[in-house]
Amino acid sequence: MAQIEKTQVENIDREIYDIKNEFTYDYKTNAGLTPEIIREISAQKNEPEWMLDFRLKSLEIYNKLDIPTWGADISELDMDNIVTYVKPKSGLNYSWDDVPDDIKNTFDSLGIVEADQKSLAGVGAQYDSEVVYHSIQENLIKKGVIYTDFETAVREHEDIIREYFMKLVPPTDHKFAALHGAVWSGGSFVYVPEGVHVDIPIQSYFRQNAPGTGQFEHTLIIVEKGASVHFIEGCSAPKYNVNNLHAGCVELHVKEDAYLRYSTIENWSKNMFNLNTKRALVDKNGTIEWVSGSFGSKVSYLYPMSILRGEGSKSEFTGITFAGEGQNLDTGTKVVMAAPNTSSNVNSKSISKSGGIATYRGLLKITPEARGAKATTNCESLMLDNESRSDTVPVIIIENDDVDIGHEATIGRISDETIFYLMSRGISEDEAKSMVVRGFAEPISKELPLEYSVEMNNLINLELKGTIG
């Protein structure tokens, strides 16, 4: 087993990572998550007292709540050993040789260079994005935009963080939100001042490779009045590590007349339980747009939620889920319309194959105040064989009469006529099928920045190769 060279975090230009205190959880505990561990994490991070208290309270809540009874089976999750998920297994000694073959092959097929392959094994090697990142940073700082890792934000922007942290997703929300509150680590803080338009998407791509983050990262974005930004969260390549629980939390505050687009490509390794909570609160005439692609993980629970609190606010959701062998991806979106003249559009697609399970789970709730609400939902599920499953479980709750609501869903496979037609034009059966699948995914991929949509198409091709039938 080849030992790969160590790269110390200290060697990295601080301006890029803005990490002042490197810390690792290099202590061992036998089992369970204890207040001592929480104190240790907090001390390592040099946190203010209130954050420690918050963590300890969250732990109490975590111990009281039960695991959700609906949805994909997560009984394999060994909650008593949760601490081992918090503790990165000294990533620096991790070897490329230990990475499973399917992931290595994916990387080779995606054309990811060796240097980056090394970073997979936990070495903080850099991507070519650095330069871009620098220029974005310069540009943003001039406009008064704050973009920093979350630990730094807690120290340097304490007042804002204290006001907003886990207010939208309180630890009482569900068991894994409580867990997140107790052990969160890493993530991003973005603040866009009033009237500022950030033209280039901000990407959290770089931060995903810092050891110890990415399992319980916290993202907080505040877009002030009339401002706009596009944030991309990419774990754009499957990141192999021994941690198999991801319970991140994303809180988005979209103020009056503001606009936020939040794009995600999730491609966690196939041993990952991805129990992420994402929520946006939208004020008067504000807009939240979710773009979401889920490819990886063993089990996902992922339902970005929009709360339309302000009159005339809007939510758009465009998502695709691709469930392959051994995967149970339970995804969808929740929209609560709680003010007059709000609107919501949901466009969700899923593909399941080789025994994969894809579930669309949705909620649309229209409160008595939300008069004049308009909402459309469209779910399409494509099944590529009868080993797989595809389910749609939407809930529509309407509490006033001045609404206009439409919901449509279809389940089925690629029609034989379509394949036959393409084959009659000289296209092979496999190619015909993958053309149809790419076409099916196109409305989603066209919403993604170029490199992501190329990557998504590559992923689809990889997933389909030789298995479609």
């Binding site: 959700p68 009874t69 609906w70 949805g71 929740k334 789970r361 909620l363 709730k365 008595p368 008069r371 599920s381 099944m383 590529l384 064989d385 009868n386 797989s388 499953r389 595809s390 389910d391 749609t392 479980v393 939407p394 809930v395 529509i396 709750i397 309407i398 509490e399 006033n400 009469d401 001045d402 609404v403 206009d404 609501i405 439409g406 919901h407 449509e408 869903a409 279809t410 389940i411 089925g412 496979r413």
Partner: protein
């Protein structure tokens, strides 16, 4: 409190959409001696049939307790059996009144090969302290047809119907359900399309008024090949009425070439109404076509404007639109007297819209 109509697959608990909780009623079981068979006396028997209709173990009914109530203490048991090639026409007048306030019924309907059964079930009676809890078991053998028209026009009472059906090769069941009464109307229908080319066609219309609750659970399960199952639910909600629509199309692995459509439309006529819709699609088979569509809103303004421009008042126009949406379904009621009754009742109920 008891849980009713738990979804076949549950979802977010905080939505309170997984089931409904209802108070337990204190029911004194009394005799039910009302003479119900108006048409088809020779074909409705009190004696159990040789061929019992076995209910699948996973059929839980509207609630475990209410299903057990029927199985243990039914005060009304009827067996309807059509021999091979036989055609039956039956009319059951299922009235509750002061003398017969409680109806706990267990009705079996069995159609042998190539038979054809037409049944009208008219649940009526405005006695305030009445209660209805009926299990309908249905089996349609090869090439047989069973067609049920049910009208529920009782007073402000709890009305429960559990319905379990099995349909064999080329068999067909049709249900038409019209729900006009009841303070709490609970439907729990499971239709198993077991045979190849089997068919289920379900249509329901309802009108909710006052503080009434209408909870419609409808699950079609596809086992056979090239099976077809459709259902349409149309309704209007007034006052502070509440409705739950729980529709499921479940394509079991092996049900290739099957198709299913579920469609739900609700017209909202007051700002205090509450409407829940959970249109579920489940597929373990890829060679199927499953669709569902749900829509909710007020009457279409363009149509309203058009009708009013022809000299009708807004009230009249609204009424015409709602009735127009129900009419194609009502027209399938073959019994003229009952059909006219339904039309008149709707007319009266929509008067104050």
């Amino acid at each position: 409190m008891t849980i009713y109509n738990e979804l076949p697959v549950t979802t977010f608990r905080w939505t309170k959409a997984n089931h409904i909780l209802l108070d337990d009623l204190n029911i004194n079981k009394t005799e039910y001696n009302y003479n119900t068979v108006k048409v088809g006396k020779d074909n409705v028997s009190d004696i159990p049939m040789a061929e019992e209709i076995k209910i699948k173990d996973d059929f839980v009914g509207a609630s475990k307790e209410s299903l057990e109530e029927v199985l243990e203490i039914a005060n009304y048991k009827k067996y309807i059996f059509a021999k091979s090639g036989e055609n039956l026409d039956i009319y059951l007048d299922l009235k509750t009144n002061e003398a017969n306030p409680v109806l706990i019924g267990d009705i079996s309907i069995y159609g042998k090969e190539n038979s054809n059964i037409q049944i009208t079930m008219d649940y009526s009676g405005d006695y305030k302290n009445a209660y209805t809890n009926v299990l309908t078991r249905i089996k349609a053998e090869k090439n047989s047809k069973i067609n049920i028209v049910k009208v529920q026009r009782q007073g402000e009472i709890r009305h429960i119907e559990h319905r379990y059906s099995q349909v064999e090769e080329n068999g067909e069941v049709k249900y038409l359900t019209v729900n006009l009464g009841g303070e709490e109307s609970l439907y729990h229908f499971v239709t198993d399309l077991i045979g190849d080319n089997s068919k289920a066609d379900l249509k329901t219309i309802y009108i909710g008024e006052g503080k009434s609750l209408t909870d419609i659970y409808n699950n079609i399960r596809f086992y056979g090949k090239n099976a077809n199952g459709d259902f349409i639910v149309k309704g209007a909600l007034k006052d502070q009425a509440k409705k739950y629509f729980r529709g499921t199309l479940d394509f079991i692995k092996g049900s290739s070439q099957s198709t299913g459509d579920e469609e739900e439309k609700v017209i909202l006529l007051n700002d205090k109404v509450k409407s829940f819709a959970i249109p579920i699609l489940l597929a373990g088979e890829d060679d199927v076509i499953g669709n569902h569509a749900a829509s909710a809103g007020q009457v279409d303004e363009n149509i309203l404007f058009y009708i009013m421009s022809r000299g009708f008042s807004e009230k009249e126009a609204k009424k015409m639109i709602v009735e127009g949406s129900f009419r194609p379904i009502i027209d399938e009621i073959k019994n003229m007297e009952l059909r006219d009754f339904v039309i008149d009742t709707l007319d009266k109920k929509l008067e104050k819209v």
